[in-house]
């Protein structure tokens, strides 16, 4: 896990991502917005833009190491579930580290908005909800990566799934709003203000269930599959 995480953190992708994200947060923030709006807009970039990077990083976790590299690694005294859990942990930690660095820029920026309309617990709740969504996306990516030996296939599947969840789920059925990142973005300003609909727990439960189920599926499947 440590080797994988350090490899990711030292990569050029990380530096590029952080620089681009901070730049975007600074130049694209609304000049006369409130704290909750600036925060919601800043967080929305993670769903609409940076999710592509997260998908690429998560969905290449296992598939990119198939072949000789996997053989070299798995011929060592490693149990399959050790390997797959290390992949989940390293990719999730990586996404969370980058996310927290972005948050470290975004929160002070939003607090400097013209009108402070936030509530502390609401602010924490909105940041946590987005974090949970990103963890779910990472988990789905790693799971798909164990199912397909080719890196491109899980990336394409997850891109389609993610953007379908984001843009098409709300159009299909209002009850699917719970699973829609775009719906969540629309709710973020209210949540940051401490105004809840009472339905947020359903989103939390759904995303947490998807995360746990996909991680369990990947662990069971990878523990039995031929490399």
């Amino acid at each position: 896990m440590q080797a994988d995480l350090m490899g990711l953190l030292k990569s050029k992708i990380t530096y590029g991502w952080l620089i681009a994200a901070v730049f975007l947060e600074i130049i694209a923030r609304p000049p006369f917005g409130t704290t909750s709006l600036v925060l919601a807009q800043g967080l929305s970039y993670l769903f609409y833009i940076w999710s592509m990077l997260i998908i690429g990083i998560a969905a290449s976790a296992v598939a990119s190491e198939s072949g000789e590299f996997a053989d070299s690694l798995m011929s060592k005294p490693i149990r399959r579930y050790d390997y797959i859990l290390a992949k989940f942990s390293s990719r999730t930690c990586y996404v969370m580290i980058v996310y927290l660095l972005i948050i470290a820029v975004l929160v002070p920026l939003s607090l400097r908005a013209a009108l402070n309309d936030y509530e502390v617990y609401g602010l924490i709740a909105s940041i946590s909800l987005v974090a949970l969504t990103l963890v779910m996306l990472t988990s789905l990516g790693v799971t798909l990566s164990t199912l397909f030996p080719n890196v491109v296939v899980p990336i394409v599947i997850l891109l389609i799934l993610w953007y379908a969840m984001t843009f098409f789920f709300p159009l299909l059925d209002p009850s699917l709003n719970l699973l829609s990142p775009s719906y969540l973005v629309s709710q973020l300003p209210s949540i940051a203000q401490g105004v809840y609909t009472g339905e947020e727990w359903k989103t939390v439960a759904s995303f947490a269930a998807i995360t746990i189920a996909s991680a369990a599926l990947a662990t069971v499947y990878f523990s039995e599959k031929d490399l």
Binding site: A3, G7, K10, G67, E68, F69, A70, D71, S72, L73, M74, S75, K76, P77, I78, R79, R80, D82, S223, E224, D226, L227
Partner: protein, 323 residues
């Protein structure tokens, strides 16, 4: 004492289509340097991946160190070193960081791995490049690093898949020298289709073709099996008159001219070979030709390999019906 490696009716079928390993029974005893010979696609790499528990058998059993090998047999892999064909490493790591990583995977103590790491880097001649990123390494350097990584845990069993593949002559020689040295203390299984490598470093050999072991035994037994008594001469000059005179010597069964300077002279198994060879040399000397080289063992293991695979192909159906 149980064999270090034992397969019992081992079978691997990929996707109900390709039979890669077919009811294979193989034994490798402790201390042996066992060469696994076979043409491309014979099932060598699949067999190795089964031995390491990287893939599951469709039927049959793999036993290593007397215990059943499964996908999660981490305890057995703790005692195995493995070098895949064309090994791949994280390109941004250096030999030191990579071997450090491998040492950690084997749960080695820091003192132990530090000591071993420097010894191994010296042994594979990578000490000058120890701090360079792997991405700039040549094939030979990558193979040598793979070899060092496979020895990091001081394994009881070393499994090498085509260890000299892609190496230049110097790299190949140094790798074989190193393996020869390691073979004095460890059990080694080497897969290769470079027959001269197997001939040089192995004391046991198994020939596999189409997923089956068609012959297994000591190199000596293998050579006895194909005793041809062929003497090869490399000669400068006109070979025609010499060939005619050679054919008249009693005990020579055939004289084949290969290219314009090589003669393969087959001797009768029952004829006194020492005397005939002396006569051949005298004849060459009398003819005033320049003898470049003479040898009687070139390609012997290749002959064994070709003979056995050919026999297997012609009798395979019959054997299948009988069994």
């Amino acid at each position: 004492m149980p064999p270090i490696i034992e397969t019992v009716n081992l079978t691997k079928i990929f996707g109900n289509r390709l039979i890669a390993v077919n009811n294979m029974n193989l034994q490798v005893e402790e201390g042996a340097t066992y060469g696994l010979l076979g043409p491309n696609g014979a099932g060598k790499t699949t067999l190795i991946r089964l031995l390491l528990g990287l893939i599951k058998p469709t039927a049959g059993e793999v036993r290593v160190f007397g215990k059943g090998m499964t996908i999660n047999s981490a305890d057995l892999r703790q005692r195995i070193g493995y070098l895949p064909t064309n090994p791949k490493f994280p390109p941004r790591m250096t030999p030191i960081t990579y071997l450090d990583f491998i040492g950690r995977l084997f749960n080695m103590g820091r003192d132990e791995w530090m000591n071993r790491l420097s010894k191994l880097l010296r042994a594979v001649d990578l000490l000058p490049s120890a701090s360079r990123e792997i991405k700039g390494f040549s094939t030979g350097m990558v193979t040598r690093l793979g070899l060092a990584a496979s020895l990091m845990n001081d394994p009881d069993l070393l499994i090498l898949d085509e260890p000299t593949s892609g190496l230049d002559p110097a790299g190949r020689k140094s790798t074989l020298d190193l393996l020869e040295e390691i073979g004095k203390k460890k059990t080694i299984l080497i897969s290769s289709h470079i027959l001269s490598d197997i001939d040089r470093i192995c004391n046991y050999v198994g020939i596999i073709n189409e997923g089956k072991v068609i012959s297994s035994g000591s190199i000596k037994d293998m050579k006895k099996l194909i005793k041809n008594n062929v003497v090869r001469l490399e000669i400068e000059g006109d070979l025609e008159p010499l060939c005619t005179r050679l054919r008249s010597i009693e005990g020579i069964t055939s004289v084949d001219e290969k290219e314009d300077f090589i003669l393969d002279i087959a001797l009768d198994d029952k004829a006194p070979s020492t005397q005939i060879v002396r006569e051949i040399v005298d004849l060459v000397s009398d003819s005033g030709l320049d003898l470049i080289s003479i040898n009687s063992s070139t390609s012997r293991i290749e002959d064994a390999f070709l003979k056995l695979t050919k026999e297997e192909e012609s009798t395979g159906f019959l054997r299948a019906v009988k069994s």
